[in-house]
């Protein structure tokens, strides 16, 4: 990342008559023209830029220099698991024998693609302790929705129509209740104990025959392992409901424990978190969903199955037993290939170390900073932990100021103001791919910021100053939305 704002828009580089590529050779190879009736064709101009290829390349290259990625520096964004994205994964996801396959071409011509897909399904099943996985869902939130559909289909199939509620801890991410609502379910929040774990006694009275599922992450959003999970699972199952595992925090459990063994019936995984696929500034993602034995038939279509006798693969596109279809194709294939490359490169030995190393790195930072930042839950954490702002509350310096100052020092900020359990949440997740030197340097900077909060609080209030742009005016953006170049130009 550089410090100078680039800021131009491609439309501002447009000059009439310029071309950025030559898509069609009109000099030879022509066909007779086949005009359509004018009432079917476009009358308005498409407002696209007219730019030459070198200008396009330089524009997006310069634009990229105002961005910060994992390759640029440390990215301790809590709950987002921004681990290193191995380069070999990208290379292998785009090899020609994989990239130029049409999603509806005959199964016999895509056996390698289906074998890759099936191998990933099997690997995730082993890691999750589940019977089977689908890799269809396009993202974590999409997986979550799919998982809830499977749960509703399970109850429907049993003729159990009363179950319309999903219990979610009050520390949960907002996506959980949103997914439940899209799936036609009502959300009931269960209280947390001061350490952020589920209050088992508060849960007990909520469980009855109207509950479809309990949704949890483990470790929870404070990075604390829910030790009561066997008891919770037993209670939920006793009430006839299913246990849903939100895989957002799976990373520290790699090699340590499996959601299936904890009593979860359905789970999703975010491949961009635990399995190192690039986040891409917001996608494309992949949110595979796993189920325990007995629920496999409810997984969505299309499904990839293997015929053991012949070692051949096929795609099941329609099957009325399933919960339905959430995608027309088998999913974000190139993302899935990256995850498979990661699993194969890590192997059982590397994956087995990933969880412990992610956990060690998080505890190492927590212990080094607990005297200057307020640690509301003092326990061994897993992959992440939460500070409730600075320890010294007299300076008026907020979590937002600390986060913005970190940008000045060349770091991405931690997750801030989440979870909602504390006023000044600052959630730090280092992941296992950071070296001890990186952690030590980050610790030094966090201590320096804590000192600055006392000695020069105004510097923190004004931060960031070393970034391409400063703090934006969010209010004006929301009051008078300008969301296209046309609106910008016409203002």
């Amino acid at each position: 990342m550089n410090r100078e704002v680039y800021g131009k828009l491609i439309f501002e580089l447009s000059r009439p008559g310029r071309r950025g590529t030559r898509p069609v050779d009109n000099s030879t190879d022509a066909f007779p023209r086949a005009e359509l009736a004018s009432e079917l064709t476009r009358t308005s101009a498409t407002e696209l830029p007219e730019v030459d290829e070198p200008t396009v390349v330089r524009h997006y290259t310069r634009m990229s220099t105002n961005n910060f990625g994992v390759d640029s520096g440390f990215y301790p964004l809590g709950s987002c698991t921004m681990k290193y994205n191995p380069k070999v994964n990208d290379a292998l996801s785009a090899i020609p024998g994989m990239a130029r396959l049409h999603p509806f071409q005959p199964d016999a011509t895509v056996q390698g693609a289906l074998r890759a897909y099936w191998t990933l399904q099997r690997s995730l099943s082993e890691i999750g302790g589940m019977a089977e996985f689908t890799v269809n869902p396009y993202a974590g939130a999409h997986g979550e929705l799919t998982g809830l559909m499977i749960i509703r289909a399970y109850h429907d199939e049993r003729g159990d129509k009363k179950r319309t509620k999903v219990i979610v801890p009050n520390s949960a991410h907002g996506t959980n209740p949103a997914s439940a609502a899209v799936c036609g379910l009502e959300v009931v929040e269960v209280a947390s104990l001061p350490d952020g774990t589920v209050d088992v006694e508060a849960l007990r009275p909520l469980l009855d025959d109207t509950v479809a599922a309990m949704m949890m992450t483990n470790p929870n959003t404070l990075g604390i392992f829910e030790s009561s999970i066997p008891e919770i699972a037993a209670m939920v199952h006793e009430a006839g409901a299913l246990m849903y595992y939100d895989g957002a925090n799976l990373n520290p459990l790699l090699g340590v424990a499996r959601p299936g063994d904890m009593g979860f019936d359905v789970m999703h995984i975010n491949l961009h978190k635990t399995f190192s696929t690039p986040h891409g500034g917001g996608g494309p993602g992949s949110g595979p969903v796993g189920v325990r034995a007995g629920l496999e038939h409810l997984l969505p279509n299309p499904r990839v199955i293997r015929d053991e006798a012949t070692d051949t693969f096929s795609v099941v596109r329609e099957d009325s037993n399933s919960c339905g279809s959430v995608t027309p194709t088998v999913g974000n294939f190139a993302v899935e290939l990256r995850a498979l490359a990661y699993i194969l490169t890590m192997g059982r030995d590397g994956l087995g170390m990933a969880g412990p190393m992610a956990t060690l790195n998080a505890n190492y930072i927590k212990e080094a900073l607990r005297d200057v930042y307020k640690l509301p839950v003092d326990r061994v954490c897993k992959h992440e932990f939460v500070f409730d702002g600075l320890a010294d509350k007299s300076t008026g310096v907020t979590t937002l100021d600390v986060a913005k100052r970190l940008l000045d020092y060349g770091y991405h900020a931690p997750t801030i103001y989440f979870p909602l359990l504390f006023h000044e949440s600052l959630m730090i997740e280092p992941t296992e791919t950071e070296s001890r030197e990186t952690l030590d340097e980050f610790i030094d900077v966090m201590r320096r910021i804590a000192a600055e909060a006392i000695s020069e609080p105004d510097t923190l209030k004004a931060a960031p100053v070393n970034t391409p742009v400063g703090r934006p005016d969010d209010t004006t953006a929301a009051l008078e939305p300008i969301v296209t170049y046309k609106q910008l130009r016409d203002k």
Partner: protein
């Protein structure tokens, strides 16, 4: 032994454990009940070297039979990908960034999303676009939920029978769980939406919205004149699903008077890649902006007076509205939005028009040539089409045709029913390649 993605050495591990007051890595998991611990390694192979994993993937690729001439479409089209696109998109500043929650160090991402929104709004003839959706099918399902949310107590959505059935399956799945009543508008004998059937159902009341597609599943360019007026008269909304590229030449949603446009933007030069990643688009009128799901980027100024871009209207989104949000979508298709933005920048208005005109001209030529072989005939001979058409292949052994074509690296299309072959042509196929295919059909076995 350390892994090359895991930096800490044995000595460092000991020192770091010491700093945490611990003796072994097991101490980090003392709070995990014993019976939950996995006391064995995963049943997976040992880690491979980079060369080994490369061989593994090359062996997988060798099991595939990719075609060099792809006449399959059905929603996903083989367009040429300019080399500048993957080169730019793979820049790690774009690829390894998270959601732009820290705008001070995310102007790259925010700016290309703003460009993307501007281009998609213009292409669809509507006012606002979000930052992209997963794909056509999920974007259509979101459009359905949006119409129902805007329609307050109305819960019925009409979907034309001419829409892609793969999209319809996803829409039906969302509707089933969300509690939306989806009814089908019949198809006429010409393969178009039966407007009198639509009027009849609108007249029955309770309709929140109508979804049609353009070109439809059979490649037919439908005439939607008068549809918007009828739909709006029933106080319902209109959504048009279309592959993005075709909007450069066909009348877009906004010009038909529709309220929402959605569809796949894969046709803007995104590789087929056996199912993805692609991306969906969703645009709408200003009036519906606050009901639109997903991220939106807007312009503002920063503390230093720079023009900057930020995520805006966030209060609509799942992380704030929780169970009151219109949608649970968190991400968009990020890099794929960048991909198509660069594609549209390189091609510009002229390039996009040329691509579609070439596909149209070549498709019309090919349909005539195939019909002339006497081996197949158009399913809907009277209806206009752009670059895709359905053929009745009765009497032809399609499996055998696919096999013979595969030997020559040609994928003839998508089989959409008994004796029904859907064929798409783009600028990517040369006349010589299409002639080769026609020859294979001429000599095809019955």
């Amino acid at each position: 032994m350390t892994h090359h993605y895991l930096p800490q050495t044995g000595e460092e591990i000991s020192a770091m454990l010491g700093a945490c007051g611990m003796k072994s890595l097991d101490d980090l998991f003392a709070d995990v009940p014993e019976q939950l611990k996995l006391k064995r390694p995963y049943d997976l192979p040992l880690g491979m070297t980079e060369a080994q994993v490369t061989d593994y993937f090359e062996n997988l690729a060798a099991e595939n039979r990719p075609a060099r001439v792809i006449l399959a479409g059905a929603g996903y089209y083989d367009h040429h990908v300019p080399a500048a696109i993957p080169a730019l998109v793979s820049r790690s500043e774009f690829m390894t960034a998270y959601t732009p929650y820290q705008p001070e160090i995310s102007q790259g991402t925010l700016q290309y999303i703003f460009e993307y929104q501007s281009m998609m709004a213009s292409l669809t003839g509507l006012e606002v676009s979000n930052a992209s959706m997963y794909d056509s099918a999920t974007a259509t399902a979101e459009a359905m939920m949006m119409m129902v949310a805007a329609g307050r107590k109305k819960n019925r959505v009409l979907v034309s029978e001419t829409i892609n059935p793969a999209v319809r399956r996803v829409v039906d799945t969302y509707a089933r769980y969300h509690g939306i009543d989806v009814a089908t508008i019949r198809m006429t004998e010409e393969g178009t939406t039966d407007s009198s059937h639509m009027e009849q159902m609108l007249g029955e009341g309770g309709v929140a919205g109508v979804i049609v597609s353009q070109p439809n599943y059979y490649g037919i360019v439908e005439d939607y004149s008068g549809f918007a007026d009828k739909i709006h008269a029933a106080k319902a909304l209109m959504t048009v699903n279309a592959p993005a590229s075709t909007l450069a030449v066909l009348k877009p949603a906004g010009e038909w008077g529709a309220d929402i446009a959605c569809g796949d933007a894969q046709s803007l030069g995104v590789p087929l890649s056996y199912g993805g990643p692609y991306l969906g688009y969703l645009t709408c009128t200003n009036a519906l902006m606050r009901k639109m799901p997903g991220r939106i980027v807007g312009k503002t100024t920063d503390a230093r007076g720079n023009r900057v871009f930020v995520l805006t209207l966030q209060a609509r989104e799942q992380h704030i509205r929780r169970n009151k949000a219109t949608s649970n979508i968190c991400s968009n298709q990020g890099l794929m939005a960048l991909w198509v933005t660069i594609y549209m920048s390189l091609n510009g208005p002229e390039g996009l028009r040329e691509i579609n005109e070439r596909g149209r001209d070549a498709a019309h030529w090919l349909r005539d040539e195939l019909t002339a072989t006497g081996r197949m005939r158009p399913m809907f001979a009277k209806s206009p089409f752009l670059n895709e058409f359905a053929m009745d292949t009765e009497g032809l052994d399609l499996d055998r045709l696919f096999e013979r074509c595969a030997e020559r690296g040609i994928l003839p299309g998508v089989v959409i029913g008994k004796n029904q072959l859907l064929i798409a042509v783009t600028e990517r196929q040369s006349r010589a390649q299409l002639e080769e295919f026609v020859e294979l059909v001429k000599t095809a076995e019955k």
